[in-house]
């Protein structure tokens, strides 16, 4: 459907002859489109878009990036040169490789290519290959590959690891990377580009095509896609009309804090009734679950409404998707799982619940509505609390100004590089020099230092430990001819089983008890499952269920509609407001008045300006005031949730050193509120960057964020095996925790490569120290410490925020002692 949806629209709507593009089409098609294809187009009464023909005209470029909005027919544009080629002359072997971030997308594209190929009568075999493909088919595909193979980065990495990869990929002419903007944001993109570097060595004439949604920095994606230093021209399709986007107005003002937006349920239901199909996007799975639950309670007309997110059971998701395609659903409450690619049907409204945090993603989500090229997408933003009203307005202005945001990705991560060395070793003996040269043709690794590469190679070969303990048992050995190979060829099996960069959190499946039919419902995080006791209730897939017990690593539940549920936690990313959006908000606050904001917000801002002051760009506002018998300091850093959280940890540590006796803090995207016994009077001493960085050093040693980051990187780099199902099931003397490895390295080998990687990753991930540092540098000594008698309008909502971090009494040991004493007392033993 996505391939030809735009063409059908021509069929439905505007008559072909009326499009001014037609002469262009004929001019181009006369020279490049084979008759069988032009005939087919004409038989359908369809016309290709100019950018689709541009792609064809430039099919000999070594790399080409197409930026087109959703519904712009970009996938067909990517395949145009392939179809033209295959229609001209018979071909033997693999011609074009298509890579997309979603398994479902690969299957979807296959179905949508097969129809026209059959109608044109082209002798073209099209197959997909993902984790779901049967092992029989997979084997056959390696021996006798199709003309067009549709796959994912992980499946491709696996293919590249086989000894027979050179045979399978021999003669490969083109590769199409779909939704490359999504891949570019994660390590999956880095892994894919290393695999493409390998393919390019096997097939030097390989042409690369990237297909991307609208992004802030197309050049960065072009750099990622092209073989370094090849050029990569960028084609931009007509972006279509601007979206019709507004804030949803409700009679009731939003609450002061929180993220649920329950206040907007009646207004959202009205919108659902007024439209054919509405997508209701949420930033987190937990919020989607709560909202869906509340929506159902208010859904008196029993409108068919579904829920869709990544933690739901696959069958359940598939059912929702199918119902949507059939047009049976009026609304789908969803998360990022519906962000990408697949066209689920005739969506005419997108509602974003909660501030979008990131303008680029908002624009991509809006594009999900009105999946027709020439119609504006319709979208509504629903702020979840009052501060988000301001953020939503800033985001609206950014969308209208086409001002997209993005954080530079930085250099290619070394853990992915380590895994690629393992993949190379599986494929056969390799030369370190050649592998290094090949890797540096991947844009993200173009500036890779040979020293870093050697450190990674040493890590894979020997473990890279300061104590050289494994000389006899090196994993990789250098042969007399200088090539490296696996010492034990049996290791390939384990390596291949662990290919991939997607970090699965430890989740456990949830299903109904057997006497209730045993229906699978989805997954919850293991850490959350561990806090459940029989009788506890929680929400999953919009239903309240009661925890009954754990059987073979599956949580068994029964329906329990009557009770107030706990909220299951999902690992899903918590997005921080982007730098660009934060800047916009700060600038917006500087205006003299705010015509775009409702009165309850402007009153609030005016009051804040009167009793204290409004935060300003380039300065740092810190308010101090006593409240409820404690001293408070509110630091308006506007650095995003993760950075404000890190700032809270570092500042309370500094305050402890300064004798201010901090007791706790809470962080939002905009500010950190700290409370303690003594008032802050010297803000400069508190924010001394050198002292803060020292605090960070110490913090790195024992913290949970670091351990989590370590586990992710150590798994990707191959130090830790992903647990196989069998291992987990037994539960017996299970593999010991990665925390033990982390602690051991910190203690005995603090300079080890993996600790270095962990720090780098943490700094740009959850810790986001980069933004703390950037904020401190930007404000310099322009710090406004405003001592006040009482709490301020801006600080007040922070008192209602969840996620307060107590500084006192949080040592694990104290808590354990407390809990142990309680248990003994309860048992009559204390």
């Amino acid at each position: 459907m996505p391939l030809f949806a735009h063409l059908r629209q021509h069929q439905r709507g505007s008559p072909l002859a009326a499009t001014p593009r037609l002469p262009y089409l004929y001019r181009m098609s006369a020279t490049t489109l084979p008759p069988v294809i032009t005939d087919w187009f004409q038989s359908k009464g369809w016309a290709p878009h100019p950018h689709q023909l541009d792609m064809l005209a430039r099919s000999d470029d070594p790399a080409l990036l197409l930026i087109a909005p959703t519904g712009g027919g970009k996938t067909l544009a990517g395949f145009m040169p392939t179809l033209a080629d295959l229609a001209t002359a018979p071909y033997k072997g693999l011609h074009t490789l298509y890579v997309s971030p979603l398994k479902a997308l690969a299957a979807d594209i296959r179905r949508n290519l097969e129809t026209p190929v059959a109608e044109m009568g082209l002798p073209v075999r099209i197959e997909d290959r993902t984790g779901d493909t049967s092992s029989h088919t997979k084997r056959r595909q390696r021996a006798d590959p199709p003309h067009i193979l549709l796959t994912t980065p992980e499946s491709l990495a696996l293919l590249v690891s086989y000894e027979d990869a050179p045979r399978m990929f021999a003669g490969l002419k083109r590769v199409v990377v779909d939704e490359i903007h999504a891949l570019a944001e994660s390590k999956r993109g880095d892994q894919l580009m290393l695999a493409l570097a390998r393919l390019q060595t096997l097939c030097p004439d390989l042409r690369r095509v990237g297909l991307s949604a609208t992004v802030d920095d197309p050049a960065a994606i072009a750099r990622l896609l092209a073989r370094h230093p090849d050029p990569c021209p960028i084609l931009t399709a007509d972006p279509g009309p601007d979206p019709d986007i507004a804030m949803l107005t409700t009679s009731e003002p939003p609450p002061w804090s929180g993220g649920g937006a329950a206040y907007a349920i009646p207004a959202v239901l009205e919108q659902v009734k007024a439209h054919k199909t509405t997508l209701i996007f949420h930033n987190t799975r937990a919020q989607a679950e709560i909202f869906f639950h509340n929506l159902w309670l208010a859904n008196e007309d029993a409108l068919p409404i579904g829920i869709h997110h990544g933690s739901l059971d696959r069958d359940q998701r598939a059912r929702v998707e199918a119902a949507m395609v059939r047009g049976e659903l009026r609304a789908i409450v969803c998360t990022g799982s519906l962000d990408l690619g697949i066209d689920w049907g005739d969506v005419d409204l997108v509602i974003q619940i909660g501030a979008p945090k990131n303008v680029k993603r908002l624009v991509q989500r809006i594009g999900r509505a009105n999946h027709r090229y020439n119609a504006p997408s319709k979208a509504l933003l629903v702020p979840a609390n009052r501060f988000e009203v301001i953020e939503c307005l800033a985001a609206l202005e950014a969308v209208i100004a086409h001002d997209l945001d993005g954080e530079p990705r930085g250099d290619g991560p070394l853990d992915v590089l380590c895994q690629h060395i393992l993949i190379a070793a599986c494929a056969g003996p390799f030369s370190a020099d050649a592998l290094f040269a090949e890797m540096t043709t991947a844009g993200a690794y173009a500036t890779l230092d040979r020293k870093d590469f050697d450190a990674c190679l040493d890590f894979i070969a020997t473990g890279g430990y300061a104590l050289r303990a494994y000389d006899r048992w090196q994993r990789l050995m250098q042969r007399p001819d200088g090539l490296w190979q696996l010492r034990d060829p049996r290791a390939t099996r384990q390596i291949r089983m662990n290919i991939g960069t997607i970090q699965d959190t430890d989740t456990v499946k949830v299903r109904y008890r057997r006497n209730r039919g045993g229906k699978p419902l989805g997954e919850i995080e293991e850490a959350f499952a561990a806090t459940l006791t029989p009788g506890d209730t929680f929400l999953i897939g919009g239903q309240i269920v009661r925890y009954e017990g754990l059987r073979e690593m599956t949580v068994e539940v029964s329906p329990d509609p009557g009770r107030k549920p706990r909220i299951a936690t999902f690992m899903g990313t918590k997005f921080a407001t982007s730098t660009q959006l934060s800047d916009r908000i700060l600038r917006l606050l500087q205006q003299d008045d705010w015509p775009g904001l409702p009165a309850h917000i402007t009153d609030w801002l005016a009051l804040q300006a009167r009793v204290s002051r409004l935060p300003e760009p380039g300065r740092l506002l810190i308010e101090t005031f006593p409240h409820d018998g404690r001293e408070h300091a509110c630091v308006y850093g506007f650095a995003g949730r993760n950075a404000q959280q890190t700032l809270g940890l570092l500042l309370t540590k500094r305050m402890e050193e300064m004798g201010l006796d901090p007791l706790g803090f809470v962080a939002t995207d905009y500010a950190t509120l700290i409370w303690g016994l003594k008032p802050l009077t010297d803000a400069r001493a508190l924010l001394d960057p050198a002292a803060l960085e020292n605090g960070l050093e110490e913090w790195f040693k024992g913290n949970a964020v670091m351990k989590r980051t370590f586990r992710a990187s150590a798994t990707i780099a191959g130090l830790i095996d992903r647990m196989s199902a069998g291992q987990r099931k037994s539960g017996r003397q299970a593999t010991f925790s990665s925390d033990i490895l982390y602690d051991t390295l910190v203690k005995y080998d603090p300079d080890h490569l993996l600790l270095r990687i962990t720090r780098t990753e943490a700094m740009r991930g959850l810790v986001d120290f980069g933004r703390v540092r950037e904020m401190l540098t930007r404000v310099g000594d322009r710090i406004d410490l405003v001592p006040l008698k009482r709490l301020t309008p801006f600080a007040a909502p922070l008192f209602l925020e969840a996620g307060r971090v107590p500084v006192e009494g949080m040592a694990r040991e104290r808590l354990m002692a407390e809990a142990a004493a309680d248990l003994m007392r309860e048992a009559g033993l204390g």
Partner: protein
């Protein structure tokens, strides 16, 4: 909200006005009339006999893994185990040491023990009675000092690697028990002693050792209804042995 948000990420400073919880170095209990200490390190001390018992050291675990083509784990577990054992011996000045089986991950691990570690073990053995009890991983007699025994009786107690049903006054290891308790910061799990009127099961002393939750049927079935668990770590914490079947994050 993950634990990361709720936990203080650095050790709380030794603040003047808010002392950390008292660390309890061991939990004292009696078995067959004998007073025993379940130490927070995971070692068992018998003051009357000046005897220290540790179980499941698994020396050479990392080496065995890499030998079989796996990834090379940080090769510091021998050093780490010996550091801790030395500290326990310095603390207790025990005259007898029993290593209660699975001291070595396998025979090759024993041969692969670095010279420095052998010398270190010899230093620890000097002036002490030292017993290597046999475990299922263990290779049989080793060419390190000490006595090799299948099991050892020291009335009223008997020491063997794997607990036997119906035994009394028995000290064993093998299962690597761990126990979890719910705290305000979520479920926290630690290697643990399991203790009832008839037996003690020691936690694994080795660095690279996973654990079997006390709620597992094999342990729940073996231990009496009134069994306790003593969690190791910063403090030796005594709780009623957790039996509820919750998954313990390892």
């Amino acid at each position: 909200m993950g634990n990361a948000r709720r936990l203080l990420p650095w050790p709380a400073p030794a603040a003047k006005n808010r002392p950390m919880s008292e660390s309890k170095p061991h939990h004292s209990f009696t078995l067959a009339g004998e007073t025993l200490h379940a130490m927070r390190s995971g070692a068992l001390y018998w003051p009357a006999q000046s005897l220290l018992c540790v179980s499941d050291l698994h020396f050479g675990k990392s080496e065995r893994k890499v030998r079989h083509g796996g990834m090379a784990l940080p090769p510091y577990e021998v050093q780490d185990i010996l550091t801790r054992l030395q500290a326990d011996l310095d603390l207790t000045r025990a005259g007898t040491v029993i290593c209660l089986g699975d001291s070595f991950d396998d025979i090759t691990a024993h041969h692969g023990l670095p010279e420095a570690a052998r010398l270190w073990i010899a230093r620890l053995q000097a002036g002490r009675r030292w017993v290597w009890a046999e475990g299922n991983h263990d290779p049989g007699p080793v060419d390190l000092g000490g006595t090799h025994l299948a099991e050892m009786a020291l009335p009223p107690l008997s020491f063997r690697h794997i607990a036997t049903r119906g035994a009394v006054a028995e000290i064993s290891g093998h299962y690597h028990p761990k126990a979890a308790i719910r705290t305000r910061a979520g479920l926290l799990s630690r290697p643990a002693f399991l203790i009832d009127a008839a037996r003690v099961i020691l936690p694994a002393y080795g660095t690279y050792t996973g654990g079997l939750r006390s709620s597992d049927a094999v342990l729940s079935g073996m231990m009496a209804a009134d069994a306790i668990a003593v969690l190791t770590g910063h403090s030796a914490l005594c709780v009623p042995m957790p039996r509820q079947d919750v998954r313990i994050p390892s």
